[in-house]
């Protein structure tokens, strides 16, 4: 049933084959523009209008075996590589966020068990998931939202059982799901050790002891089952306890480190889709006697969007690999990713909508109104699994450690190098290494000087004609200048955060501003690390248009320029000659579209020819 040549663990070829999984799911799903396929754009739009759950599409994903990837390999599933998982979820999200979220939520629901459950619990849950059962996460309550310590749903010990009372609200798949990991207050006084996670099987509850709440009408992902569940003294077996009594909050926070990283896949998919739609539009649309893509302002907007997307991809890929190689630092990695990627993707989609103008606002004129749907759907990504405030607050709470560690070169630089080295096999993920605080700092930021060193050396070689074959003399000069500016910013940010002690969550706006800047520095460091560790392999051995992005530091220069622009403001970034890099990026964007490849740092083919044949025959301009 499942074609699986992507999960091999045998060394050197893994970097190439890792992406086969996402490609295979693409092949299976077929061309989404073809309304005859099950998982088509047309159907997703129609379901959204009717606010209907994409049940048939989800059944197709079940049949292919997507749920296998929600279950870690040691518990009987096929999940042994979070980078692969990101690409898989991204492929689904690229078609439709309601599906990706409605289906992928089972991983979220189960993550607490993967992190803290017994082997037996995990194997049993794994079997259920592989059999197509939905699992949801019962975390939030009507009155408290992200304030988990205020949770009121009680799990009172009653002999060998727990008696559960109270209401969880705005829960994905609360109604459709069979199982539910539930954060319950097991000590009446609450507190950090006063909550426990229970794995509740609704089918085992007395029918009159719980009821599912109505589906909530939402701004986007309108077809999703966002509802709630209310318990009235529901009797749950003591065996449902996940982890030690009182460990619930810790378990949930650790599980969220994983899911927050996976959320980046949802943003990448939405960004991929919006960029493609806007690109097709501006290459076709004629205004003022020009195709829009010929207007310098439009070109600049598209190129900036392309660079933003690659920056987000670099960060997401690094973070996904960090699950395996920087497990102790995920409290930082996940907060950076979950804040930055959705926020930047919201802005990206808004910018691309503006290029499309009225047709992004109207529903049936261009691409069935898909852009407004992506915009509405994606706004949820910044909200769930810990919203922007929560993630920035998480960074603020770690300021002191992060700032001081940076000054003394702390952080697991070896783990970061392993995260960056795409060709290397990933060690197995060890959930017991998860920690609520990155005690030794951030390896990704610690790697910054080394990465810049690699770039500096490569730049020097290229000055004297000793660079990569076919590269222009001095072609890395600009990227190096941008990297050095990033280092200055990182120094300043760390110097300032090292001395701060902010109350959380009641921190001052300056702390939030610094957390934002910290996240941007982190993203820049991820771009540099990824480039430094892979440029030779990708530029020489990579496939398709992705290979060209690595030449002459093209993507790196553009992505760093974007990071600097966001860090310092557009007028405070010295000119490093990034205009040429953006121009090359735009050409690669068009070429990838014409060849049916994903615009990505990595070689990923898409299902179906994607540029309109007619347009290509007429020579669609770029």
């Amino acid at each position: 049933m499942v074609g699986l040549d992507g999960a091999g663990r045998n060394g050197e070829k893994q970097g190439r084959t890792r992406y086969r999984l996402a490609e295979r799911v693409e092949e299976y799903l077929g061309d989404p523009a073809d309304a005859g396929t099950v998982f088509s754009y047309a159907r997703c739009i129609a379901l959204d209008e009717r606010e209907e759950f994409p049940a048939e599409i989800c059944r197709g994903l079940d049949a292919w075996g997507v749920p296998e990837y929600y279950v870690p390999a040691q518990f009987g599933g096929r999940l042994d590589d979070y980078e692969q998982m990101v690409q898989l979820m991204r492929a689904l999200a690229r078609r439709d966020l309601t599906v990706a979220i409605g289906h992928g939520k089972t991983y979220l629901g189960a993550a607490c068990v993967w992190v803290a459950g017994t082997r037996e619990q995990a194997e049993r849950l794994g079997a259920q998931i592989r059999a197509g059962r939905l699992v949801s996460l019962g975390l939030t309550e009507r009155g408290h939202g992200s304030d988990l310590l205020a949770g009121e749903v009680a799990g009172d010990r009653d002999g060998a059982h727990y008696r559960v009372t109270g209401e969880k609200w705005l829960i994905n798949n609360a109604t459709r799901g069979d199982l539910l990991t539930l954060l319950t207050r097991t000590e009446p006084d609450g507190g950090p050790r006063g909550f426990s996670v229970l794995l509740v099987d609704k089918r085992e509850l007395a029918a009159d002891s719980y009821r599912c709440l109505d589906k909530v009408r939402t701004h986007g992902i309108r077809g999703a089952d966002i509802s709630g569940i209310s318990f009235d003294g529901a009797l749950v077996s003591g065996e449902a306890l996940v982890g030690a009594p009182g460990s619930g909050l810790e378990t949930v926070l650790k599980a969220l480190q994983l899911t927050r990283i996976l959320c980046s896949a949802l943003s990448l998919g939405a960004g991929d889709h919006a960029l493609t739609l806007a690109l097709d539009f501006v290459r076709e649309r004629v205004l003022y006697g020009h195709r829009l893509i010929e207007l310098p302002k439009t070109r600049a907007a598209l190129a900036a969007s392309a660079a933003d997307l690659l920056m987000a991809e670099a960060l997401a890929v690094t973070a996904a690999r960090a699950v395996h190689t920087l497990t102790e630092e995920l409290s930082v990695v996940s907060a950076v990713v979950k804040y930055l990627v959705p926020t930047e993707t919201d802005a990206l989609i808004a910018r691309l909508s503006r290029q499309v103008g009225a047709r992004a606002f109207l529903k049936e004129v261009y691409a069935r109104g898909m852009i407004q749907k992506i915009d509405r759907d994606h706004r949820v990504v910044g909200i769930f699994d810990g919203n922007t405030q929560v993630n920035l607050s998480s960074l603020i709470s770690q300021f002191g450690v992060l700032g001081r560690a940076y000054a003394r070169g702390g952080g697991d630089a070896g783990g970061a190098a392993a995260a960056f080295s795409l060709g290397d096999a990933l060690p197995a993920f060890a959930p017991e290494r998860l920690s609520l605080i990155a005690r030794t700092g951030s390896g990704v930021l610690a790697s910054l000087p080394d990465s810049v060193g690699v770039l500096r050396e490569a730049a020097a070689r290229s000055e004297t004609g000793g660079g990569e074959p076919g590269s222009l003399p001095g072609s890395l000069r600009g990227a190096l200048a941008a990297a050095e500016l990033l280092c200055e910013s990182a120094e300043r940010v760390h110097a300032e955060i090292a001395g701060r002690r902010d109350p959380v969550p009641a921190a001052e706006p300056r702390a939030f501003e610094l957390a934002r800047k910290y996240a941007l520095c982190f993203a820049g460091a991820a771009c540099l690390g990824l480039w430094a560790r892979n440029r030779d392999a990708e530029a020489q051995a990579g496939a398709g248009t992705a290979r060209h992005l690595w030449h002459d530091g093209t993507w790196l220069h553009a992505a760093l320029d974007r990071v600097l622009t966001k860090l310092r403001g557009p007028r405070r970034v010295p000119d490093t000659g990034a205009a040429a890099a953006y121009e090359r990026l735009l050409n690669h964007l068009c070429a990838a579209r014409d060849r049916g490849e994903l615009f990505s740092l990595l070689p990923l083919a898409l299902a179906g020819p994607t540029t309109d044949r007619r347009a290509r025959a007429g020579g669609t301009p770029c």
Partner: protein, 589 residues
């Protein structure tokens, strides 16, 4: 509102004195607020629950339309000389703000569309056309502005809908698309190609009556659905060689583009100020959430970041209102200069409002995403507001109006022209009728920036806060000088559609500078006035801080008391149900 150049003398009015114009404006706002009633009363047919339901059903609120009929809102779009109430554009924006505060769909679908359709007739129509349109509007009929063709969008000079010469008049042929109220407006203002020659002298505007059309030769095309303003009747019109008499022509043949550009100066100045109402409701909803919501053992409102975000949104609304005020009053006081100001208002105000809504959505967290219940109206405003940046006055089109004028302003106006009259900045001061014949497509003068330069000399500096304001003013003046240098270097190519991103960035900065000038001007005029909040420079400091940040300037330290003062005001206006704008209007009457 309109006059030929006869009534030019501007009478200086003391800001405190409540004039007849001011009393009438206040009474009109109160009448609307009273009519709309308590937004949170679940039984109120024009409350948030009913409006959300109408939006869900993609219908314009019937109760809302009935109320506006009863109030006779159309009179606000008809000049006083023609029997209506329209005497001032700033008042129109202020009154319509009450409607937009409730519902953008009603604001546009009932109101602003008719005004946009009418303005060309008020500026260029014959006395007979003006009387006819005034009578129709005062009877409660709607007018539609049928300019848009999907194929050409902002590039309306290439529109194809044709009015071909025929004996006794014209024959209409072609389609107009995405026209608000196309399916129900009695009066249609049609932008038609009257010559096949490319360029700007080939179009004319015709005014036709729906009831006089031959059903066999025209039809309404199906409604479009959109993500926002779902209740608006956005439809198309199709004509098949339909004859219309010569008398349908508005203004001279071939004058269509010029007429449109002149009309845009009025609508671009006025409509964004109306939309401030929607963002006011967005802010009010977020404050309601923050005050009522407990997180981390305290109200959200106690979190500094939440307080700052709400105050920032309030400041954004004040900034938008200052620019909108200067823009609307300029149509009366500086008609030659409004080409640039109106484009600046239409570009910057919707942009700031949409950004403010994004920031507010973060305060609301998951509640932003819920389309029902107490806070469900918020996402509706988020979906509705972007409509303001579309259509024939899109953001890029507005920047494109500004860019070609920058180098001329840099050469001939900045640091040379004298300042604007003080009345430009006084929200409650009387205005003369607007001399619409003096609206000019490009003037090369900019008194608003000149006011900024003049104020640098004049600003008080006796308190630390006042000195901070003065410091900001100096920075803004430096910014203008820098802008001047850069504008002088623009190449001729930068004056076309092929303008560089840098020239668009220059236009963006210029609009922010104009907003800063307006903020300074409003405070300068208010500092001895009756409104204690506007008189206190705290809001000015905070507003200029935000604008300086938008410009990427190095930011100075500012007294913490300024932010506190603004935050208190956000809460006061929430508790006392006062508007989040320059008027501090009572919202429950």
């Amino acid at each position: 509102m309109l006059s030929e150049t006869t009534t030019q003398t501007t009478t200086v009015v003391e800001p405190e004195a409540e004039t007849a114009q001011e009393a009438a404006a206040q009474a009109r706002v109160e009448q609307l607020e009273r009519g709309f009633g308590d937004p949170y009363d679940p039984d109120n047919p024009t409350g948030v629950h009913a409006l959300l339901e109408a939006d869900e059903a993609a219908e314009i609120s019937e109760a809302g339309e009935a109320l506006l009929d009863e109030v006779g809102l159309n009179a606000d779009f008809v000049p006083v000389q023609l029997g209506g109430r329209l005497d001032r554009l700033d008042t129109l924006a202020r009154v319509m703000r009450s409607v937009f505060r409730r519902d953008v769909t009603l604001g546009l679908g009932y109101g602003a569309t008719s005004f946009m359709a009418a303005i060309g007739v008020w500026t260029s129509g014959s006395p007979r056309q003006q009387r006819e349109l005034a009578a129709a509007l005062l009877r409660g009929e709607k007018a539609a502005v049928a300019y848009h063709e999907l194929a050409h969008g902002n590039d309306f000079v290439r529109n194809e809908f044709a009015a071909e010469r025929a004996p006794g008049g014209f024959r209409l042929r072609g389609a107009k698309e995405v026209i608000n109220n196309a399916d129900r407006a009695e009066v249609l203002s049609l932008f038609c190609r009257t010559s096949p020659v490319p360029g700007s002298r080939s179009h004319s505007v015709l005014m036709v009556r729906r009831s006089e059309l031959d059903p066999a030769r025209w039809r309404t095309l199906p409604r479009y659905t959109a993500v926002g303003v779902r209740g608006c009747h956005l439809a198309g019109l199709e004509f098949d060689d339909h004859p219309v008499p010569e008398s349908a022509l508005v203004g001279e043949p071939g004058q269509g583009v010029e007429l449109a550009l002149r009309s845009f100066q009025v609508t671009r100045s006025a409509v964004p100020g109306m939309a401030i109402g929607a963002a006011d409701s967005g802010l009010r909803t977020a404050v309601r959430f923050a005050v009522g919501r407990e997180l981390y053992r305290g109200a959200v409102m106690q979190l500094p970041q939440a307080r700052i975000t709400l105050a920032a949104a309030f400041l954004d609304l004040l900034i938008c209102d200052c620019l909108s005020l200067a823009g609307t009053r300029a149509v009366h006081l500086l008609p030659e200069e409004t080409s640039v100001y109106s484009a600046a208002v239409k570009y910057l105000v919707p942009k700031i409002l949409n950004e403010a809504m994004y920031e507010l959505s973060i305060v609301l967290g998951a509640r932003f995403y819920v389309r029902e219940g107490e806070f469900g109206i918020f996402q509706k405003h988020v979906r509705d507001l972007p409509v303001l940046s579309l259509g024939h006055a899109g953001s890029a089109a507005c920047q494109a109006t500004i860019i070609p004028q920058l180098s001329r302003l840099a050469r001939r106006s900045w640091f040379i022209d004298g300042p604007a009259p003080a009345e430009l900045f006084r929200p409650r001061a009387d205005l003369p009728l607007a001399p619409v014949d003096r609206l000019s497509l490009a003037s090369g003068r900019d008194s608003l920036s000149a006011s900024l330069v003049a104020m640098v000399e004049d600003l008080p500096s006796s308190t630390p806060t006042e000195r901070v304001v003065q410091g900001f003013a100096l920075r803004m003046m430096d910014e203008l000088r820098q802008l001047q240098e850069e504008a002088l270097e623009l190449s001729p190519k930068d004056r076309t559609a092929l303008a560089s991103p840098a020239s668009f960035a220059l236009a963006d900065r210029y609009t922010v500078l104009l907003a800063a000038a307006a903020v300074l001007g409003v405070w300068y005029e208010a500092r001895n006035g009756a409104d204690a909040f506007l008189a206190d420079p705290s809001w000015t400091v905070e507003a200029l801080y935000r604008l300086a940040r938008r410009l990427g300037q190095k930011l100075p330290e500012v007294p913490p008391s300024c932010a506190e003062r603004v935050q208190e005001e956000v809460l006061r206006r929430f508790r006392e149900q006062r508007s989040y704008d320059l008027y501090d209007a009572r919202l429950t009457v």
